[in-house]
């Protein structure tokens, strides 16, 4: 039937060097989003004289910071094949807890700010832990668990404040919201820092490798002896921490903490992640793409206001752009599979 031989049929030679192709599709993907962003910028610049002014650019940077921060956390959750719908509500809960901390009497300004930041991140992490642990323990789709958390956290925020807004924060805190370095808002720098950390964790750590691998093939990772459930829970905790940081950034910008902030923010974050080229089925996508995705959404929102489009129409356009991005994602996936 067969003779032992070390020769092998030549069927396996790939038509193209794979690493080259992979590199090129990655670059192409990111380049595609970048080009889309540039086109948007050019269009708005042509339509509105205000769009490219320094103050408007600063404005855009400030506006998109929060979405970038949330999207960094969301990336981890979507990469493992989950989703976090509770982001906006948890942000409100983080904000009111942090707002309360800022108002604790007898604390020095730095101490109050430190306590607030800690409280916000802590609340976010706890909510993420609850999301992740519940969905992992009973194998419940995270879609459902986080939908529940969306209500729990919002209710908790309203209960905590009796639906009142907290304001009159320390000056140092409020100034952070408007501070700029070389014309770049401090808030945006925080967002960029988180993008850098997120990129590092996903691309340079064992944990990041396993996050990608779980999104691709959970069973193979489990059989390789890795604690799949713990890693999934950790992804939700990271998303929660990002929400906690986002809440502080958002409070600094608005100089208030309200239990009704953040409504719909989860959708913006998910949209940024998807426009940024992350597959909703998990395992694929980069964090740089997310940054560009968030920029597209931010530029779109800002530009459409400047050209005088109504709130309602803007909502429709943003929604349509998200659907378009998903269609492109599916088409791209199909093309990649065909060439493979």
């Amino acid at each position: 039937m067969q003779t032992p031989t070390m020769s092998e049929p030549l069927e396996s030679a790939a038509p193209l060097p794979g690493h080259w192709r992979r590199g090129s599709t990655l670059v192409l993907r990111e380049a595609g989003i970048g080009i889309a962003l540039l086109v948007l910028v050019a269009v708005f610049a042509a339509l509105s004289p205000i769009f490219l002014t320094a103050s408007n650019i600063t404005n855009i940077f400030t506006q998109i910071s929060i979405n970038i921060i949330l999207a960094v956390g969301m990336t981890f959750v979507i990469l493992i094949g989950g989703i976090d719908l509770s982001v906006g509500s948890v942000m409100a809960l983080c904000a009111v807890v942090a707002g309360t901390a800022l108002k604790v009497e007898g604390l020095s300004e730095p101490a109050a700010i430190g306590l607030a930041a800690l409280a916000s991140v802590g609340v976010g992490a706890l909510c993420g832990l609850a999301n992740g642990a519940i969905s992992a323990a009973w194998s419940i789709p995270s879609f459902i668990v986080t939908l529940g958390m969306l209500n729990v956290a919002r209710g908790a925020a309203l209960q905590w404040t009796q639906a009142r807004t907290i304001y009159e924060f320390p000056d140092a805190f409020n100034e952070f919201g408007t501070a700029t370095f070389a014309g770049i808002p401090a808030l945006f720098l925080v967002a960029l820092l988180l993008v850098a950390i997120g990129w590092f964790v996903l691309n340079r750590t064992v944990f990041g490798r396993l996050v990608y691998a779980i999104g691709n093939n959970e069973e193979a990772v489990r059989l390789a002896g890795h604690p799949v459930k713990a890693i999934k829970v950790a992804a939700f905790v990271i998303a929660g921490v990002a929400v906690g940081i986002g809440a502080v950034v958002y409070m600094a910008r608005l100089t208030i903490a309200s239990p009704i902030v953040g409504i719909g923010f989860e959708l913006n974050a998910i949209a940024a992640v998807i426009i940024g080229g992350t597959s909703l089925s998990g395992g694929r996508g980069s964090i740089i793409g997310k940054l560009l995705g968030a920029c597209i959404i931010g530029v779109l929102a800002n530009g459409l206001i400047l050209i005088g489009m109504s709130d309602f129409l803007r909502q429709m356009v943003t929604g349509a752009v998200i659907i378009l991005a998903v269609i492109l994602d599916v088409v791209r996936a199909r093309l990649t599979r065909r060439t493979a």
Partner: protein, 516 residues
């Protein structure tokens, strides 16, 4: 029955090749209307491929097909179904969340005007069909998810009855049925036969073939061995023909001494979830030994090795490594104890297809390519390159995605992953399935080298010849029971296959135990 002017089905010289494998080579199959025809053969003999071709799921590379004298060339299962050929597959495809009635009539919902579902007709037709398979008592509005396998199997058959088939193919339909349900099914087959339907019946249970079939076609290694009336053969004769008399000369494998002393792996009284048969499975594995685990598909080979590795839950049993008990609850416990498992399905369980080869190779040994949680990519690349050279993996580079490799090279990547852990016990489930001939030989050589280095190997394969060429010893599973053990000097295909069939040939008495 009136004589038909043509055979119901006439397949002549059917051939089908897959890359590196000839699944079918010049096979004939002739069915007469109003007859039950058995299709017999070992695992991998070509039965499934032939059924797929008959049912339009695969197309032959060679040969001709005629249906009642007319040329027949189905392109899809739907074509086959329209031509009156129905296949009831081993793996059931049911819509679990829907009702029995909806599943039964899924192909042809009774409709009223404007495409509205005719609920009354749905219900009454479903009741008729259920009655034909002896499920008069079952409410058609029951949700399928609430039913057991046996019910589902019968429903699947009832569904096939709804289509007024002229040819019905039943692929291992009795595997999950109790004796009573089996008798019911055999009665249905006789009834179909009397109605003039041509029935093809595949079963490991030889006594069922003899009870109900008119004639039998035996396949072996993709070739047509013979077709005879059932009355002119016997179970022993069939087994002999499935195996073939001339056993190939064994390969040059030097018979390694079966290492004495403490076994590298000892399993006592293992029972896995859903195990049939009585008692547990005991096995021992010595360092430097290659032991084969043989048995028919569904005999519990995969379940056994998965339970040892902790991939699935173990219901009972002890596992000892080098004489010390180890508590294996999950794969990481087995890995800790130096036990690795190459699973049977590399695409679903072995590889991360859309990640680079380097990441796949390091997946089970990330600690050695990282320090304090940070990946050392140079090290990872170096290790993957070396593994690529050692195993002769054909790739354009270690960053190439696993998906782009051929089956043989993918399997080598999975092997490379486990080799990085330097296992003391390596269990391999169908290590050469879907692997081309060249890579297969390379994998065999590699396993022999590992054994020479003192690794204990346990190999599951449906290819008995592979095991005979490779192993020092063979364990044979039959229906969840360890039916026997054969040492290399006594390897005999016929005897091993007889062991594999042993539990299936037992009278229905013992079956009552599990049926009850």
């Amino acid at each position: 029955m009136t004589a038909h002017h043509a055979n119901a089905i006439e397949l002549r010289g059917i051939g089908r090749r897959y890359p590196g494998v000839v699944a079918l080579d010049g096979v004939d199959l002739v069915l007469e209307a109003g007859r039950i025809h058995a299709l017999a053969g070992e695992n991998g003999a070509g039965k499934s491929t032939l059924i797929k071709i008959l049912g339009g799921a695969e197309r032959p590379d060679a040969g001709s097909m005629r249906l009642f004298g007319e040329p027949y060339a189905p392109r899809t299962p739907l074509d086959a179904s329209r031509a009156g050929i129905r296949v009831v597959h081993q793996e059931l495809q049911m819509l679990e969340a829907m009702t029995v009635a909806e599943n039964l009539l899924f192909d042809d919902f009774p409709c009223k005007a404007f495409g509205l579902l005719d609920r009354r007709a749905l219900r009454s037709r479903a009741k008729e069909l259920l009655a034909r398979v002896g499920l008069e008592g079952l409410d058609p509005s029951t949700q399928v998810a609430t039913l057991g396998m046996a019910h589902r199997q019968l429903i699947e058959i009832a569904r096939a009855l709804s289509a007024q088939s002229r040819v019905m193919v039943l692929d291992e339909p009795t595997a999950t049925l109790t004796p009573r349900e089996t008798r019911q099914l055999l009665a249905i087959m006789r009834q179909l036969r009397d109605e003039g339907v041509a029935v093809v019946f595949v079963s490991h249970h030889l006594e069922e073939l003899f009870e109900v079939c008119d004639s039998v076609t035996v396949l072996r290694n993709g070739r047509h061995i013979q077709t005879v009336p059932m009355s002119q053969t016997s179970p022993d004769e069939l087994v002999r023909q499935m195996v073939g008399r001339g056993v190939e000369p064994g390969r040059e494998t030097a018979a390694r001494p079966a290492g004495g002393g403490t076994p590298a792996l000892e399993v006592r009284g293992l029972r896995f979830a859903g195990q049939r048969g009585r008692g547990g499975i005991d096995l021992t594995l010595h360092a430097g030994e290659i032991v084969g685990l043989a048995g028919l598909v569904g005999s519990g080979r995969t379940e056994t090795v998965r339970a040892i590795f902790g991939a699935d839950r173990r219901v009972a049993g002890e596992i000892l490594r080098d004489g010390r008990p180890v508590d294996i609850q999950a794969p990481q416990d087995a890995l800790q104890a130096g036990i690795c498992l190459l699973t049977e399905n590399r695409k679903d369980e072995g590889l991360v297809l859309d990640m680079p080869i380097a990441a796949n190779v390091s997946l089970a040994s990330l600690r050695s390519v990282s320090s304090r949680g940070l990946l050392r990519r140079d090290e990872e690349t170096r290790i993957a390159r070396r593994a690529g050279d050692d195993l002769r993996i054909r790739m354009s580079g270690v960053q190439q995605h696993a998906r782009q490799l051929s089956g043989g090279n993918q399997q080598k990547v999975v092997l490379a992953k486990w080799l990085q852990r330097a296992p003391r016990v390596l269990i391999l489930d169908e290590p050469t399935r879907g692997v081309d001939v060249g890579a297969k030989a390379e994998i065999h050589l590699l396993l022999q080298r590992m054994a020479a280095d003192g690794v204990a190997l346990l190999v599951v394969s449906s290819d008995l010849r592979e095991l005979m060429g490779l192993c020092d010893r063979m364990l044979v599973l039959s229906k969840g029971t360890l039916a026997g053990e054969v040492a290399r000097p006594d390897f005999d295909e016929e005897a091993i296959l007889a062991m594999a069939y042993q539990e299936y040939l037992r009278s229905a008495d013992t079956d009552h135990v599990r049926a009850a």
